[in-house]
Structure formats: C-alpha cells, structure tokens
C-alpha cells in the first residue's frame, strides 16, 4: 500500500504540451505512471509523448473519454488557478499543482472551492508525490527512491530529494514521498498527509520535513502526539533564516517572532519526535527508533 497515488491512478496532465509538462510527463511515463490523458486547450485530438497520450481540449472531455482520476498541473501561474478549478469541476478527486508563483488571493478562492467539491489538492508550488515502484506524479526524480516502509511528507522540493536520497543510500525505502508545497495557502497540510500515512498499513514510520513560517509544523506536532503511534523523525529548515524576510518559498517567513525553526523543533520534540540537525541524520534517527 501507499498513499495518494498507486497502480490504479489514471493520470491526466494539464499543460502536457508545454516544455516542463512534456519533460516531466515523459519521466512519469518512464517511471510507470499510467498517464491516460493530456489536456491543452486547442490541441484536442492531437497526441503527446510520441503518440502515447491522447490530448483533449477540456478536462471534462478527458475525464469522459479516459476515466482520469488524478491530475497533474504544469500550466503557468496566471492560468493555474483556472486549471485547478477546471479539474475539480470535472470531478477529478486528486489534483497536484506543480506551478509556483500563484497569487495567494487566487489560491484562497481555489482552496475553498476545491474543498467544497471534495477534491484533494496537493500544492501548488510542490514537487508532487511518488508511491515507490507504483506511480510518480510531479517532478520528483524517480531514481532516488527505493521501495520500503517509510512515508515522507515535506514542504520543500529539492530538500525532499535530499532526504529521500539519504534514506535510500542508507537502505531505508519509502512507501510514498509527498511534497505539499511551500506557499502560504496549499491544498493539503502536514496533518492531512500524516493521517493518511498513519492509516496506511504498509507505512511503518514517517518522516516530516518542515521549514520556517506559519504554524503547520506546530499543529502537526500536536496531532502526532495525539494520534500517531508509528516511529517518526523530522527536520526543520531555516534555523539561520533572518526574521521578516521571505526565504524563496512565499510561505517561508518568520513574522513577529512566530514561525521560527526553533519553535517548530521544540514543538516536534515535545511530541516525542526526534529532530535531525542535518538531512543525513534522518536514517540514523529512524534506525534508532527501530525501523528496519
């Protein structure tokens, strides 16, 4: 088992004919992800990826023709909110939005509309998710994974890869690795993913990668203390970040003394979660917690 995506995923890629969309769709296909449809308005009837994927003009048509049950969005920021709304409107229950730079007020509306529709959104400004050896959706490099018992959730992109690589190198494989995105308003938070991992029988341990800004890590810590009985390890980026500055991610900002890495580390430790000083320590912490 795994969470979010698996062999039964029937993926639609919105923006499949764009440069990034095509590049990463190819990587997804090569990983074995079942991409059943692409969507680019005005390119309906064509095909993408050397004829392997049919392209539709609208998500509604793609869903009707192919039974797509998940979507991955690669369209530019100005069009991405509409792309998410279109996917939800067409009844797609799981939407990954890779796009970064979406204005927060746009996301506010999208967040609430998707929630009311019952669609799960991962991102935006996220790397996607890989259910190892089953399906990879988004831009996480496939080759860093190894199948195993650890679930991983992160707010970052490349930092996620760093941790995954460290685990794989240490012989600790993963069920699913998911990046929830670095924006102030994202569709799914740590707790959403933690509860899925908590209920996934194959996931035996969980790694959580946080960063400065907001209080999602603190909330997640409280949730873990209450609900999660699986071994956990964590890392929080941004101990050296100055206050009041936005550290790349729109969400990574320490404001009014809140949202510091120290506050998050303390909250996680108070919940009994071991917090690493470097990504390279994660495998050791997991081993120490009894993960094999």
């Amino acid at each position: 088992m795994s969470i979010l995506v698996n062999n039964a995923t029937r993926l639609l890629v919105q923006g499949i004919t764009g440069r990034e969309g095509e590049f990463h769709s190819r990587a997804m296909l090569e990983y074995g992800t079942p991409i059943v449809a692409g969507m680019t308005p005005g390119k309906g009837g064509q095909s993408a990826l050397d004829g392997r994927v049919p392209v539709y003009d609208t998500v509604a048509e793609a869903v009707e023709q192919t039974g797509a049950n998940a979507s991955c969005i690669f369209v530019p920021a100005p069009a991405a909110p509409d792309a998410m709304l279109e996917a939800a409107e067409a009844g797609i229950p799981l939407i990954f939005c890779i796009t970064e730079g979406i204005p927060a007020l746009d996301m506010l509306a999208v967040y609430h509309v998707l929630r009311a529709k019952g669609a799960r959104l991962i991102g935006p400004n996220c790397p996607g998710a890989t259910s190892v050896s089953e399906a990879k959706v988004g831009i996480i490099p496939g080759e860093i994974h190894r199948r195993g018992p650890v679930g991983l959730v992160s707010r970052s992109g490349t930092l996620t890869y760093e941790v995954v690589q460290a685990m794989t190198d240490a012989g600790l494989g993963q069920t699913t690795c998911v990046g929830i995105g670095g924006d102030p308003i994202v569709g799914s938070n740590f707790i959403d993913m933690l509860s899925m991992f908590n209920e996934d029988p194959e996931t035996e341990a969980i790694v959580m990668i946080g960063e400065i800004g907001g209080d999602e890590e603190e909330r997640a810590a409280a949730y873990c203390a209450r609900e999660v009985r699986k071994p956990m390890a964590a890392f929080v980026a941004g101990r050296t970040a100055p206050p009041g500055r936005r550290m790349g991610h729109a969400g990574a900002i320490i404001s009014g003394g809140a949202g510091t890495a120290e506050s998050k580390r303390l909250a996680l430790e108070a919940a009994g979660i071991r917090v690493a000083d470097s990504p390279s320590q994660i495998p050791g912490l997991l081993r120490a917690a009894g993960v094999r």
């Binding site: 990034e20 990463h24 920021a77 100005p78 730079g101 979406i102 204005p103 927060a104 007020l105 746009d106 506010l108 509306a109 967040y111 609430h112 509309v113 790397p127 831009i139 996480i140 490099p141 860093i144 992160s154 707010r155 970052s156 992109g157 490349t158 930092l159 996620t160 890869y161 760093e162 690589q165 670095g182 102030p184 308003i185 990668i209 960063e211 400065i212 907001g214 209080d215 890392f235 980026a237 941004g238 101990r239 050296t240 970040a241 100055p242 500055r245 936005r246 550290m247 790349g248 991610h249 729109a250 969400g251 990574a252 009014g256 003394g257 890495a261 000083d277 470097s278 990504p279 390279s280």
Partner: protein
Amino acid sequence: MKLQEYRSKEILARHGVALLDGIVASTPAEARAAAERIGSPVVVKAQVLVGGRGKAGGVKLAATPAEAEARAAEIIGLVIKGVTVRTLLVVPAAEIAKEYYLGLILDRAAKAVTVIASADGGVEIEETAKTNPGAILRLPLHPLIGLREHNVRRVAFFLGLDPEQRRAFGPIMRGLYAAFMASDADLAEINPLVTTPGGELLALDAKIVLDDSALPRHPELEAMRDLAEEEPSEIAAREAGINFIKLDGNIGCMVNGAGLAMTTMDLVKLAGGEPANFLDIGGGAKADRVSTAFAIILDDPRVQAILVNIFGGITRGDEVARGIVEARASLQRTVPMVVRIVGTNSVEAADILRQANLITADSLDDAAAKAVAAALAEGGAA
C-alpha cells in the same frame, strides 16, 4: 513587497479611505513649502520601511513652516535601523481623541482574509496581542463572498464607535478591504485610525505589504518599489529572477530550491561557518542565471568561499555544471568553490566539474565542511 506610508495612503485614498492629504518632500526646503501649503501645524514623517520611526526621532511635530524645515533637516539623513532617511511625508497635524488599530491580513491558518481590530491603536498590534489579547478582534471574512455589511458592523461595534462614527467607519472598512483585494496585499493596516475631538474618523498612518507572487499583474504597484531602501545586490538578483537575501557571513551559497537553500545555510552554520546569503537559483536555472548568481554573491567582499549545492529535479545538473564553469571563467574575483550536484544528469555534471578542477563533494554535510575549511584557508591567505 512593503510600500512606504505615502504610497500606502495613496492607494487607500483611491479606495475612499478618509485621511489627511500629505505632501512628499525630500529636502528641508520642500518640507517648508509643504507646511506652507498645508497650513501649520504639521507632522514631518520619515518614509522608511523599517519599524520604530517614532522612537528613532523620525516623526516630529512642527508648529510653523520654519520649524518644519528645521525638523526636516534633522530627519533627512537620519539612519533608522540601518536605513538612511531620504524621503519625508509632511501631513497636517491632527488632534486625536482616541486611537484604534484596523488591519487586514492574509491569514494562512484561517485560510481567509482576516480583519484585525483593536481599540488600543497607535502601538504595534503584536504588542497589544501580548499585553491585552482580549482587546483584539480577529474576524476571518468569508473567502468567496468577502467583506459584508454585518462584518463591518461587527468591527464598528467592537471598537465602540458611536452612531456618527459607525457611519463614517463603513467607507473606511470597505475602502481598506477594496484596497487589499485590488492590490493583492498580504497586509493592509491603518494604525492609528483616530477619532478627532470633533468626532471625525481618520487614517493617520498606513502600511501595505504586497504579495510578491501577484506583482507581475500589478505593474503600477511594482513601480512603487523603493529601490533606494534595498540592497543593490538584492535588486540585481530580483531582476535576474533569483531569490537572494544578503546576510552577514563569509560563505556564499548557491542552491536550487528554497528549502534546500535554507538547509545549506543551516549546515554551513553547523559546520562552524557563517552563510553570506540565501540564494535559490530557482527551477530550470540556465547558465546565464548561474553566472549572474555568482556575480551577485561575489559582489560581497566578505565572501571567502562559495558552496554550490544542486539537487537535480526540474534543474538539469549538466546545465548547472556548465554554467558554473563558464561563470567562473568570466568572474573578476574568484574564491574557492565547493560544488555538489546530485540527481538529473549528475554524471555529466560531475565530468564537467572535474575537468574544471572544482572542489566536489558527495554529501551536503561534506560540502558544508569543505566550504568552511576553504573559507578558513582563504581567510588565512587573504
């Protein structure tokens, strides 16, 4: 992006918020002329983006135009939290009966635009939050239908306004909200909102912080950016599409991805060094952007070593490696460079790096340690 007080007020006034018209001045003479046009007394206010202007002597009352000129001369050139005052706002002095705080924030926990209001105005809201949390109303607005009349009434009653003031409050609250939404703000606050002894309601000071992600669709707001108050290197980085923040250390960092960039800084510190900057070259970074990134990092004379950490994903490692080598060839100044490239096309990347005789590293911990060591050696050598 933070807007100066006078810019923030300009936006609020356009949306119907009641405030006293001020005049911008950048010399004592201009301040005098402004005071003459306004009619004394006036308040002369330093226009800087850092807090604590008042305590630092950046806000002064002047009874006459001559006094306004004198006060302006004192304030211009003042350094407040590292920022040199260049611009002033001269406004009519208002008699104040009572001060309130009224703000809107993009509330990430509530996933809503939230009204923050307090009858304890004039002080920082974070201060009130600590000393008297009960004095603050936090009212999340409906994310899809926005500010409604019942919200406006709720805030007005919370502030204890009388019927006359409640009528005047409507356009202010609605104007603040309209300004927030129209400019894609992260924060829009009026502090203090005051009542005068005559019962009038006025916005005396204002602050708007914009959502950087929305700036591309607001060129008129982007034009309000105060470049004089920014680090030149940060301006150059932004123009190149690079996320860059200058810090005080000696080890320059160039990383792809914000989380990994922060982690790289953290590990430099853990290895005993001090990061000189945060730098995320972004996804799909090309050779020319890498080149610009190096130039920006090396513009800081304190930088004694550079740590490059690229974990391929969107970014192709060979492109980065080529960019590093090219960029290094064209640099006016060079320092030791520790380069770690993992992921997409990393094999090709390693070849390129080795051929150019750069210090490579397998792990991030290793890279950080090598960079700290290189900086120490360079520092000793310098």
